[in-house]
Subunit: 573 residues, 2 copies
């Protein structure tokens, strides 16, 4: 932060301010009161004074409406919205979000350093501030083939980026407990620079939690119970209350918020799908839940605005006071919070849900990301090397799977799908290095009667994953994903029934939210029409290659028994 | 901060801890509760866990006593204790203070960069943590001759010192408002490094306060009223509640402390004399005042321990949690707080007021600091260039003076003292560069009947200041101060009635607290015996050369009318 002499002059009244926001009910989060009839004076995007009697070129009478700092999403994977940062901003800015702290873990698994650079470039000049945390766990495991790796030695340049705040969620908690040197090197790099290190420690407690924290990890967004949150608070963590699309923990944790603990909570979305952003909202939704849950409004806004600034070291954010960024949300009800006006850097950027400024276009990524070996239909054959097979048992709405031993259906020496028993073939096709690796297996729990579903989003390595009934459809789906440079597809035989291209790292669209949301709804409708028993087949499929969530998963190298932390053979004979 | 693999192992229970502090009532400041029957486990000076069931080599049963983090003095000039840092630590450590944030403004005015380096070296390895702020206003004014100057260019090396936290109190608020480039350069240096910049803005409000804050100044310890504190809170400042020897503002500010504001308050002593430290206490005294004033104990300890860690960015201080420093105070009453045991870095360093470790000796300063031109008795003559003189009107217990026009008493063409009218001669002798500058004037308000009082403490430039009845005594006092390399003296004719040598920069003793306190008491007794009307003659005298406090002051260059911000002639004719 440089010192603005112009701001000093404006605050003293020696030069006029640009804007007075008069007659507002100011949420004074620093003092903890609501100040009626307040006037906020802004000069060149910065607050010059509050109730200091300053003149301004322009005055907006807010007629008693509330004015608070803009809302902050303290932990988000923007990639989960399937939108590039500018298009993401288009949805969340009008809802009162003026800053997000993004961990570009997904794109980093595909494109590594380049992915991080892409997210920095693509989030320049938006109507929200996009801060970044450097993904700490790329690759996530050694079981599969990620597109990239990020070591401490790759991270140094990011320490000099003003919008890079710290190290992203340290998911690999066993790595901390067992003192994995590569991981400790990353943590030490940011800790030594006095920058925040975010945590991710679902269910960790007692000595193991203490050990994890003692390494310098200071936040957690994985709490699901009050007891878990209170232990983590006591041990020094900031607790991010998560309201994502799938993980919706916020409501359960409200009883942990008291006047005495409120300063240590934040809100975040983690993973939130674009339709939920459009239908339900973003941090405005989380804030409504807090307020409806009985959290004192001052505490609720501290959680949404001031506390993230404290945790992330953003010294001029999160409050309305001299020298702070002029990022505000104006609203008229504490009972039903809706952003009426949103100011970013002193400029009115949204009103009644409409964005008044045009974000820059989604910039193309550094390179295409789908790089698979030349395939033929024959590559999807599974020779019958036994009669009993290990089948992944998927459950609708869950990323945890079971393992089911089933009798293989064999035709001409090949194991094939069996619609009657809801048995599909599933493949993970390595898509980063053109290695030709294909993991082959079977899955149940989809209820797909024909065709194949495929996508290039498959956590965390984001290889291509396709499940289907027949090799023709599977081959067609894979070919089409390749042609689109990534995306989602439903193919039946030679026909592409529906697709959504995600050419940015195979994860994000280059289109706006309207198109993406429409296409996702069309997928939902088709899957209903096709009679699938799984209500979230794309989401379910996208987690079948994540070999850290029990029990049976599949990577480009084959099946993995997560509980035994070991590869296993398809055939159980 | 590096990561300790040993600590990770200890927290997990893979290696035993060094110490368990069992059965305590833990003030869990992070969660905001008192946890009875808690066990705190320590490994190599760091908390490994709390109630994590860890084994330890040694266990101390605290039998239900309270355990809290060590107390922090958030703003202190150690020089005001007249003690070198190790001897200062000897008094405050047994009272529960485990860290102080010192602004070595006084020694810096004498010795500049060397003074700052001396304080760093002399505070190494003490039983308390001494953190330093770099003095921002050296020299304080251009009216007199300080021993040194500190510009931004001198400050860069200190940014790399782990115990240097930020920039010390920016007293020169007009310099901020009028954009003094040399001052802004200093603030920008620390602000850009994301380090705290302490403020000092007595009575500043409205637009001027906003302008001052907008430059990046984030704390204030000069509030004297609740309204002042609340405005400063609203505008983003951390408020340090001061309980010094002279300035005692803490009690008046207690009504500003509510559950909603408590996180923005700290406590400090600013200037506290050694006798008050010995008789009344240090931060333990301030804490007793908070508790007696009805502040919730959790909030009171947050103010004393956790909030300073937040403001100063001390990420592993201020709480008892994994990875935090094992600095604790054990006590048995919240009604009458007294430190029973003090642990520093996991070691019991004090018990029932006794220090159990020996601090290192006071290291000699880099050089002697009293450098005056060869003087003779004749140098103290004041030729009568007029008949009416401007006299400094001193008031007991105050640093503000009046100006009184009096008839000069003239003998043989020289203006002389006049005991009958309480009119003393006063001299400020430049002592840094041997320039020979002597400011000459008259003062009233002491009631001294014979002899001369002199000292080398005179804010902020700490030139030699002597007031007396006759030239012989004045000369003797000055000569003795020179011989002692600084200190305090009362001389009558050729006799030194009492002295205290302060050879460290002319500000601090090289003796322990017992000797210094005894000697100060002896001074007090003598001044009573001599019948002085001023009850604090040494303190009063030490502020007569501070040309920023109204109305009439004297520097080595002569009299200054502070209200007119201008030098004035002794003679008013």
């Amino acid at each position: 932060m440089t010192i603005s002499k112009d701001l000093i002059d404006a605050a003293r009244g020696a030069v006029p301010c640009d804007l007075n926001l008069a007659n507002c009910s100011l949420l004074d989060l620093l003092r903890g009161v609501i100040r009626k009839g307040a006037t906020v004076s802004v000069r060149k995007g910065i607050v010059a004074g509050v109730d200091d009697g300053l003149r301004a070129e322009r005055t907006i009478d807010l007629k008693g409406q509330f004015l608070a700092p803009g809302l902050v999403d303290s932990h988000v994977h923007i990639e989960s919205s399937l939108l590039a940062p500018p298009e993401y901003a288009r949805i969340v800015a009008p809802r009162g979000t003026t800053a997000v702290v993004a961990d570009p873990h997904e794109i980093a698994n595909v494109m590594g350093y380049d992915g991080m650079r892409y997210m920095l470039a693509a989030s320049e000049g938006l109507p929200i501030d996009v801060y970044l945390m450097v993904p700490s766990c790329v690759p996530a495991t050694d079981f599969d083939t990620a597109g990239a790796a990020l070591y401490a030695s790759d991270m140094h340049p990011f320490l000099r980026e003003p919008r890079v705040l710290g190290l992203g969620e340290v998911m690999n908690y066993p790595g901390v407990l067992y003192k994995d040197q590569k991981l400790l090197d990353k943590i030490a790099l940011f800790r030594d620079a006095a920058k925040p290190v975010d945590g991710h420690a679902p269910g960790l407690s007692g000595g193991e939690l203490s050990a994890y924290i003692s390494a310098g990890i200071g936040s957690d967004h994985e709490c699901t119970s009050v007891a878990e949150a209170l232990e983590k608070l006591s041990k020094g963590m900031y607790i991010m209350l998560r309201e994502g699309s799938t993980a919706r923990d916020l409501r359960n944790l409200i009883p942990a918020i008291t006047p005495s603990t409120a300063s240590r909570f934040l809100i975040c979305s983690d993973d939130r799908h674009p339709n939920d952003l459009v239908d339900e909202g973003h941090m405005d939704h989380a804030l409504r839940l807090l307020l409806a849950g009985g959290v004192d409004p001052i505490d609720a806004f501290r959680i949404a605005c001031l506390n993230p600034a404290t945790w992330f070291g953003l010294k001029t954010s999160g409050a309305v006071a001299p020298g702070y960024k002029a990022d505000f949300v104006v609203f008229d009800s504490l009972e039903d919070f809706r952003a009426r006006m949103v100011f970013k850097d002193g400029v009115l950027i949204a009103e009644d849900g409409r964005l008044l400024v045009e974000p820059p276009g989604a910039r193309p990524p550094a390179r295409d990301s789908v790089n698979i070996k030349w395939l033929t239909e024959e590559d999807f054959r599974i020779p019958a090397a036994g009669s009993r097979i290990r089948v992944i048992e998927a459950r609708s709405g869950s990323i945890i799977t079971g393992e089911k031993i089933m009798q293989a259906k064999v035709e001409s020496g090949l194991c094939v799908a069996d619609v009657a028993r809801d048995l599909l073939k599933i493949f993970v096709i390595e898509r980063h290095s053109g290695s030709g690796n294909i993991g082959k297996g079977f899955i149940t729990g989809f209820g797909l009667g024909r065709g194949a579903i495929g996508l290039t989003i498959s956590h965390d390595s984001h290889n291509m994953i396709v499940a289907g009934v027949d090799d023709r459809s599977i081959f067609r789906a894979a070919k089409h994903l390749n042609k689109m440079k990534g995306g989602m597809v439903f193919a039946v035989g030679d026909e592409i029934v529906l697709d959504l291209s995600l050419p940015i790292a195979g994860l994000m669209s280059d289109e706006g939210p309207a198109i993406v949301v429409d296409r996702l709804r069309a997928f939902e409708e088709i899957f209903v029409r096709e009679g699938l028993s799984n209500r979230t087949p794309l989401m379910t499929l996208s987690f079948m290659a994540l070999p850290v969530i029990p029990k049976l998963k599949i990577t480009d190298k084959g099946l993995v028994d997560v509980e035994r932390f070991s590869p296993v053979n398809l055939f159980a004979d």
